[in-house]
Amino acid sequence: MRVSYYPGCTLSTKARGYDRSGRAVAAALGVELVELPEWQCCGATFPLATDNSLALIAPTRVLYQAEQAGEQVAALCAICYHVLKRTQTTLERDLEMRERINWFTEQEYQGRVRVVHLLELLRDEPGWDGLAERVTRPLKGLRAAPYYGCLLLRPYDEIRLDDPESPTILHDLLRALGAEPVDFPYNVECCGSYITVKEPKISETMSRDIVASAREHGAQVIVTACPLCQFNLDYPQRETEFGRSGEEIPVVYFTQLMAVALGLPEEDWGLEEYYVDPRPLFRD
């Protein structure tokens, strides 16, 4: 199966390990992610005020490019996914808005393309049982805390990936890989997002609560689908006060655990760039 792929700015720079492992595991499962031939930034925030249609232009331009290429476009970055999916939903419901944006961009976006997260794609094909069958190196005994954050799930009305308060999609994936998903109360809490640039102290407090909670519940690793969550949870453990006070816990993308469990070579794991090094967990 070939599916168009929108990497987004962060996956081509800061989160290259996510991109690399994502492409590798998809390929191993028979899904070829074909990067859109031409793409720009999605805008990274979805416009919320009803009269702010300008901010829909960037994501619509992406959807237009995707529509030329096929029926679906896959994203890995939770932020890009959030923005593109909500734009798709909005322009499905609001035809007047779609016309206005098309008039502005001078491109005819028809509203046919469907935005999917790689998690959704794999849940449907090969499915969790199918995935479990392809695991060659089960992550036996690995206690992994699935951390969903906010943008992947909310608002449910427009995203509809999973339950916004008690999601299970990452839990199911981890079970298929042979790992033991660790429930912890902060798993749908926000990490602070871009507030980390402006108010690092606030963001650090938020990350500290999340990391501490995962650790108290016995997790050995935190699993995420969002590059900003990865940074916000990983970086302060090394570079600020709170990390030095307790044990560290690595923060990885779900695709990286998949790469390990599917027996892909170490360069496909993309695990070498983190503050808290996750690799010792996977060395026999």
């Binding site: 800061k14 005020a49 009803t50 300008l54 602070g192 997002s193 606030i202």
Partner: protein, 190 residues
């Protein structure tokens, strides 16, 4: 400073219409405040902002720091028993504050400007130049040296590249910017 009872009875309706969030429905259960990860840093908590809107306190709300702290995680809107989505409400309040001449939190504004400028220049976000611009735009005692440390670590880890990528459709991206700016009424200078 607003005196205690300067009522603006149009305020609530205006916020409701522009945000699509039925803010007048709130009966103050405070679930939003309880679940908000940044509430502790706000001058008025999310539920208090709702109540101030209902009480027509335009000036108090639009000059509060709370409206600039919401990051739109949508925890509040997901949990509200009255289906009030506070994230669109906060976004609307930020627009209203800009339109009515309240000065935005300079750091937030600098961040948003730098982000937009990065895309205008390259079509994609380039963290290094974006954050450099942000730092230069924020002369308000920001800790430049601390951030140089973060930047250097990221560069050394190969996490941010020295040179930005440019996209092929850049000419169109820039044309869209020009058009958008011509139409935008919320452009402010700091």
């Amino acid at each position: 400073m607003a005196t205690a009872f300067e009522l603006d009875l149009t305020f609530g309706r205006e916020v409701q219409t522009r945000s699509g969030a039925p803010v007048l429905r709130c009966y103050f259960c405070q679930k939003c405040t309880a679940g908000c990860p940044v509430a502790y840093a706000m001058d008025y908590k999310p539920a208090q902002v709702l109540r101030l809107i209902q009480l027509g306190q335009r000036d108090v709300v639009l000059s509060s720091s709370a409206i600039w702290l919401c990051v739109g995680c949508e925890a509040c809107g997901t949990r509200c028993p009255n289906q009030i989505r506070l994230a669109p409400m906060f976004d609307t309040l930020r627009y209203m504050a800009l339109e009515e001449g309240y000065s935005p939190d300079p750091a937030v504004y600098a961040l948003h400007r730098s982000f937009l400028d990065s895309i205008r220049l390259w079509g994609r976000v380039h963290e290094l130049t974006m954050l450099m611009e942000y730092k230069l735009r924020s002369p308000f005692g920001s800790d430049l040296l601390a951030d140089i440390r973060v930047g250097l670590t990221l560069l050394l880890k190969g996490k941010i590249t020295h040179l930005p990528e440019r996209v092929r459709g850049l000419a169109q991206v820039r044309r869209l910017y020009k058009e958008a700016e011509r139409r935008s009424s919320t452009e402010v200078e700091t």
